[in-house]
Symmetry: C2
């Protein structure tokens, strides 16, 4: 039985879909809509029909019917026979304008655009609320892994305290490979590029911008407050050395680039949040330590649910398209049933704590002059800044003497000031590595 024959007999409603962008993800989305048409119709209660696909160059052969291609996305999203717009272009403009137009025209929108959402979710969610349509973005964080929907829906009756995740595949591939091979950063980055895990310009990944955009999205939905990429403290992995990883291993730790969103309760009962991205030591026994290669994982800690973990493929055409299509089916069902899913809520309006005031733990490695009293002097600097030391390790001797200190939790500013003070000590020839430590209770 052909698709059209089935439609003729059953006369289901059709829902028109516009696809903006035909890269890896867009091509997989179009493939799934075509290959799984029967299943999708049953699940939705109406047929999904692709009305048009916006691309820059309509002349190129792309494996889809040429008549679907258009280089005029602005007209496509306005078409009366389009009910759902799927945006997989990336970048801020034109997606921002196209999505706003689509929402204003009463179309539901599914997007995987983390950079756009990190800065403009508020504007877009308002437009969606006014038009009573859906704005879904599961694919914007952690690819195929359901994390946006669990945070917005499954945990809607709970209080989220913390979200910590590995949400960038490129940096996780690099750090996993460095930990495994002992190779340095530059050669591992080059290898990641050769294998397709790093882009020609890897800045957005290795400097943590991608992870920071995702942290902003996660923090906003976890804490029901407005968070943009500018609110996220960010450090990348480009200064991580082979020695850092070797040293971490000696403490039964590894190094991961983490996106951390935290609710901070002050003694007076007021609350602030922290959203931050940095490479950190985590114990090998921590669930995130075993997440290797291009995989992603997100750990959520909530008041009643306790600790939850979500794990899977964080990138790639088909996995990301799976997340997009889950959103498309839900948006389509809502069109059939005249409902809509939950939008972001920002009622909590929690202030963002500056990084200096966020409690963290430091790992500090320094080269010191090998003579009596040095450890005492170093320990004194920590004490002066009210930073409590959890572990000390001294290695080598003579000119090669290295001192490694792991602290207990203290305000990040106090830790940074301690490091500055150490750098000025005559007995400390070099502070060779400063990293934070996460995934422990101390």
């Amino acid at each position: 039985m052909t698709e059209s024959a089935a439609q003729g007999r059953r006369a289901p409603r059709e829902l028109g879909v516009a696809v903006l962008g035909l890269g890896n993800v867009g091509a997989e989305v179009v493939r799934i809509i075509n290959e799984n048409a029967d299943d999708l119709r049953e699940r939705i209660g109406a047929s999904l029909v692709v009305r048009g696909i916006a691309v820059r160059d309509t002349g190129r052969e792309r494996g889809v019917p040429a008549e679907l291609l258009t280089d005029d996305p602005a007209s496509l999203v306005r078409r009366d026979d389009v009910d759902i717009v799927i945006e997989v272009l990336g970048g801020i403009e034109p997606p921002r304008e196209l999505i706003r137009t689509a929402l204003e025209q009463g179309k539901s929108v599914v997007t995987a655009n983390k950079a756009l959402l990190a800065d403009y979710t508020g504007e877009l969610a308002n437009a969606a609320a006014e038009a009573n349509v859906d704005l879904y973005f599961e694919a914007a964080v952690a690819g195929a892994i359901p994390v946006v929907r669990p945070l917005m829906q499954s945990l809607a009756g709970d209080t989220v305290h913390r979200v910590a995740g590995i949400v960038n595949g490129t940096t996780n591939f690099i750090l996993s490979a460095m930990a495994e091979t002992g190779a340095d950063y530059d050669s591992t980055l080059a290898e990641a590029g050769r294998l397709g895990y790093a882009e020609a310009d890897p800045t957005a990944d290795v400097e943590g911008y991608d992870a920071a955009a995702k942290a902003a999205i996660l923090a906003a939905i976890a804490f029901h407050t407005r968070v943009t990429a500018a609110d996220v403290y960010r450090e990348g992995i480009s200064s991580i050395t082979a020695e850092d990883l070797a040293s971490a291993a000696k403490f039964d730790c590894t190094i991961k680039l983490l996106s951390i969103c935290e609710r901070i309760r002050e003694a007076d009962g007021t609350e602030r949040i922290s959203a931050r991205v940095y490479p950190a030591l985590i114990p090998l026994s921590h669930p995130l330590a075993t997440v290797s290669g291009a995989y992603n994982a997100v750990v959520v800690e909530a008041e009643n649910a306790g600790r939850l973990m979500f794990y899977g493929q964080g990138a790639g055409g088909a996995p990301t398209a799976s997340a997009v299509m889950g959103d498309v089916v839900m948006a389509a069902r809502n069109k059939v049933h005249s409902g809509r899913g939950p939008l972001e809520s920002t009622y909590a309006s929690l202030p963002v704590a500056p990084i200096a005031e966020v409690p963290t733990r430091y790992y500090v490695a320094m080269n010191v002059i090998d003579r009596p009293g040095v450890l005492e002097g170093v320990a004194g600097e920590f004490a002066k800044h009210n930073v409590s030391i959890a572990a000390v390790r001294q290695e080598g001797d003579g000119d090669e003497t290295q001192l490694i200190v792991i602290t207990h939790r203290a305000p990040d500013g106090a830790l940074a000031e301690t490091v500055s003070a150490l750098e000025k000590m005559e007995a400390v020839t070099k502070v060779s590595s400063v990293l934070r430590m996460e995934g422990t209770d101390e």
Copy 2:
């Protein structure tokens, strides 16, 4: 600002809630509704108000206002001022009748009742569809872990091939403890009872009935077909010995009680499904191997998403209440916005394959007479039944000679027949252990 003052100024709509049952989960649900009233109102757009709590004995002090208690749940679910019914009684009747009545009266229902859902989801979902209300049951499988919503919504545009999970905390506690301590089943079960991890009558847990009910629910939503508990092949853990676990460890494996739902594609393109529960060897490197104690985890394999894993607390008052409350907030939002969430769909109508036809791998341990030709004879029986051997290990000598065979994948019936034939061999004095093996590709 008091709750009522806030309500007076903002005049939000109220939504009435009926809670059926005030055990561990019910008490936590009532606590969360009261303690988080402000947050819940913001997230829903209306206040949740508990109209009544059905208990068997209204005379007992229970830490809730006495006037809320009623021993007449049938009247409670019919009240005009009740919009959402939360069923946490457990058991088939009266919950079945109460939920059907509630749905017919236009109330949305949130339930954690896996035994009921495993057999009556169809009837209840029909009632919900006719009344255009929600029937949510995230808490029925794997406690706080979002797995129902990810399967029904996040993966709504994907094709699920397999769901395999540890979804019973009691059996996982027992097997984890046996693996760790080397103790036998009976003493570990007794210890689990003392620690509150096993009920006085542990049958439903240790014989796999609870895991089978959850497998039926998971299979139904994963494959969009009707599956009831009777369709699930089931074996419990009561015959697992300390020797089984020790032997598994020698193959770098452990033993877990798994709920497995599988889509089986035949050579001719037709599809069947399998839903089954049994203790199985899994490699220590498998993600489910590290799930210990009362924790639950579910691995989902989908066409496009690839492998996803969900991990967290599978039982307990607060974690289960977290899942219930997520559903309550979503059902409440749908009441505010006049929509409804997706119900189960059973359009696929896939037949259930009998266990004998399901491809599995066997681990067979047998005591044999130590003489030349025994291994050849044993191997011959496997070959006769077209079962390919993956690994053989011979241990001890004389009367103590033990032969362990791990097979490749073959129809479960052929494997069972092979074991029967082995039991009749004169050289095989005893088949001491037969377990399946999962989590490998072979």
